[in-house]
């Protein structure tokens, strides 16, 4: 990779997303900043309702009313150099249309309904090709079949003319992945790709994404709430809670030395083989609704280390670097680290 190409393929800077409802404006993404390393898998982890999907949707400007990006910038650094500020692109601008599916593509959680039931697989995949590449229909069909074979669909030539409902959930997810990667995008956003499929298929899908990502060098943003998937696929991780990033680090250091109490809680509640049939520990309380974000550190009501008067007052703590590429948004991070060591 030559030096002129920036280290990060995508930088999200202080992103704000707000949902206007009759009950008032909900700040789903409350100032998120992270970046994706080129050719690497970056994971966004958090319980449902923490704003990770809203973030991923904003990257491709897929948010529709009542959701709206109210602040921050998203910078994309394509392979060939230059910089595109995605938030600045016009809603119906050509630039945005060429970006979507051409440079950045996305796969979704629900394989059952992600494909149009009344159009054949071939029709939908070829459409993606024809939108972004000047090729004839026959060539597009050839490429589609090639891609379907690549994602592991047997006898792709016949399957291409089938309808989605004639395929299993896993198979359909493979088609969605094929459709996303057929134009060799630079970034793939995978919004909980394995949540809706059973465990065996989950492993295959993850294996597929890993191999394709490596072969095609696609930098991938993985949205998930499953730490197991993160551990297997991700290189770099950001943990989100109530619309904010509470901890960011490479996967190994995050797994080994989590600094933020929430991350620790998440990891503790992971069943590990070593556990001998004890009740799984879980984080007390439940995620408050978007409308009842507590003052101070949003995690303080559920945090074991919370100190009244410090954690539950003032603005939520900003990110603080406490290690090489390791940031955490917790006032007492260092103290906890010290206590833990002793």
């Amino acid at each position: 990779m030559d030096s002129s190409v920036k280290e990060n393929v995508l930088d999200v800077m202080d992103l704000h997303v707000c949902f206007h409802t009759d009950e008032g404006d909900i700040r789903a993404v409350d100032g998120v900043t992270f970046s994706m390393q080129r050719g690497r898998v970056t994971a966004l982890v958090g319980e449902s309702g923490c704003g990770k999907s809203a973030t991923s949707y904003s990257i491709l400007r897929l948010l529709q009313s009542p959701g709206e990006i109210t602040g921050g910038r998203i910078l994309f650094h394509p392979q060939g150099g230059g910089e595109i500020d995605i938030t600045a692109l016009g809603d119906n601008s050509e630039g945005l249309f060429r970006l979507r599916g051409g440079r950045i593509s996305m796969i979704f959680q629900e394989p059952m309904t992600a494909l149009s039931p009344v159009h054949t697989i071939g029709n939908q995949v070829c459409e993606a090709i024809l939108l972004h590449q000047k090729v004839s229909k026959a060539e597009a069909r050839e490429k589609a079949i090639e891609m379907l074979r690549k994602v592991g669909i047997s006898s792709a030539e016949t399957r291409i003319d089938q309808f989605p409902f004639e395929m299993s959930g896993g198979m359909r997810q493979r088609v969605v992945i094929a459709m996303a990667l057929v134009c060799n995008p630079e970034i793939l956003i995978a919004d909980e790709p394995t949540t809706a499929v059973d465990v065996t298929i989950q492993a295959q899908i993850m294996g597929l994404i890993r191999t394709l990502q490596r072969d095609m060098g696609t930098s991938t943003l993985l949205i998930t709430h499953d730490l197991g998937v993160v551990a297997q696929l991700a290189d770099h991780v950001a943990v989100m809670y109530l619309g904010r990033i509470v901890e960011r680090a490479d996967v190994r250091s995050l797994m080994k030395t989590p600094r933020h109490p929430y991350t620790m809680g998440l990891l503790n509640s992971l069943p590990s083989l070593a556990m001998n049939k004890k009740r799984l520990p879980s984080i007390g309380g439940s995620v408050p609704g978007m409308m009842e974000i507590p003052p101070g550190c949003p995690f303080n009501p559920r945090c074991r280390y919370a100190q009244p008067g410090r954690c539950d007052v003032g603005h939520p703590p900003g990110p603080e670097t406490i290690g090489e590429g390791h940031e955490v948004a917790c006032l007492r991070a260092r103290e906890i680290m010290a206590e833990k060591i002793t």
Partner: protein, 327 residues
């Protein structure tokens, strides 16, 4: 699929048989018969209404045969295409019906076309621009279209047509053209007269369709495959038309089958108010005068078309929605 169609066709025969029985009973239910109904017209024609004349007419048209015999003669004739002879109009039934069919079809098709050409785009627009001012305005307009009774709308339009556009009242041609040979002027005159029934029939249908289209489209717009398509970079207009509209339109395609009888029956009330020689008033007069042959045969034709129409609409639905399979 063909096996399905065959046994549906076989299933029709008992249905049609029951319908024919019910139709016959319905028409013969009220007292009196076609001849007594003719008395009023005979009087107006300036003919003498005497007891002797009535008995002669009854004998002439076998109206004094017992009911079962009349039923068998009627249904027998119907089966091999002979629709019998209308006592009231003194002419063969198929001549009466075919004379008026071309106009009824023209008006019905025109209004159906108007309905589809208006309802679908408006339905789409008000769904996409949901809760915008345009959406509310179009909804209220659609409701108004459904709410105004058809005879009132046709009356007012007829008067407006006459007052401001000089379109002669009632009928299809202004007096000068009633018997003139077909010329461009006559066609122009016909078109000038046609827009009133087309609007009245169209408005009613359009209103209903707009609201159904809007509801269907709103459901489809929420589905994930729309988001997938957007993520693929499909342009908005193409996206809406190719995916959600394609699915939202399915129920309409299946209503094409239901249009079969409607095309032929034409709206009775509008035709009576606008004095259009369509099949609607023909059926109304036949029923008012208990003219069994004409009314019965015409209802059987409509019922047959309806039953076929339901089959056609099921087949169409299966054709345009691969998920539906009929074994």
């Amino acid at each position: 699929m063909t096996r399905y169609i065959v046994n549906r066709l076989l299933g029709m025969i008992p249905t049609l048989f029951v319908i024919s029985l019910i139709t016959f009973i319905l028409i013969q239910l009220p007292p009196g018969d076609a001849v007594t109904a003719m008395m009023k017209d005979l009087q107006q024609q300036g003919q003498r209404v005497t007891e002797e004349r009535m008995t002669a007419l009854r004998a002439m048209y076998h109206l004094d045969d017992p009911m079962p015999v009349q039923y068998l003669r009627w249904i027998g004739g119907y089966l091999h295409g002979d629709l019998g002879y209308s006592v009231y109009a003194q002419q063969p039934v198929n001549k009466l019906i075919w004379e008026r069919v071309w106009l009824t079809v023209v008006i019905s098709l025109a209004s159906i076309l108007l309905t589809w050409v208006l309802a679908i785009p408006i339905g789409i627009y008000s769904a996409v621009k949901q809760y915008s001012l345009a959406d509310y305005a179009l909804t209220v307009l659609a409701l108004l279209g459904m709410a105004v009774p058809s005879f009132l709308l046709s009356l007012v339009l007829m008067y407006v047509g006459f007052k401001f556009f000089g379109v002669s009242i009632g009928g299809l041609f202004s007096p000068a053209f009633t018997d003139a040979a077909w010329s461009l002027a006559k066609v122009n005159d016909l078109v000038k007269h046609l827009w009133i029934p087309t609007i009245v029939l169209g408005v009613g249908g359009t209103a209903g369709m707009i609201r159904v289209m809007r509801a269907n489209l709103l459901d489809e717009l929420k589905k994930p495959y729309v988001v997938t398509a957007r993520a693929k970079g499909v342009r908005p207009l193409k996206l809406i038309l190719k995916y959600p509209v394609r699915l939202a339109i399915n129920p309409f395609i299946s209503t094409i089958g239901w249009m079969l009888p409607a095309i032929l029956s034409g709206s009775v009330i509008v035709s009576v108010v606008l004095d259009l020689p369509t099949t609607g008033p023909l059926l109304l007069d036949a029923l008012m005068n208990q003219d069994m042959q004409l009314a019965g045969s015409f209802i059987m034709i409509l019922s047959t078309l309806t039953v076929i129409g339901t089959l056609v609409s099921d087949v169409l639905l299966a054709w345009c929605d691969p998920r539906i399979k009929y074994e």
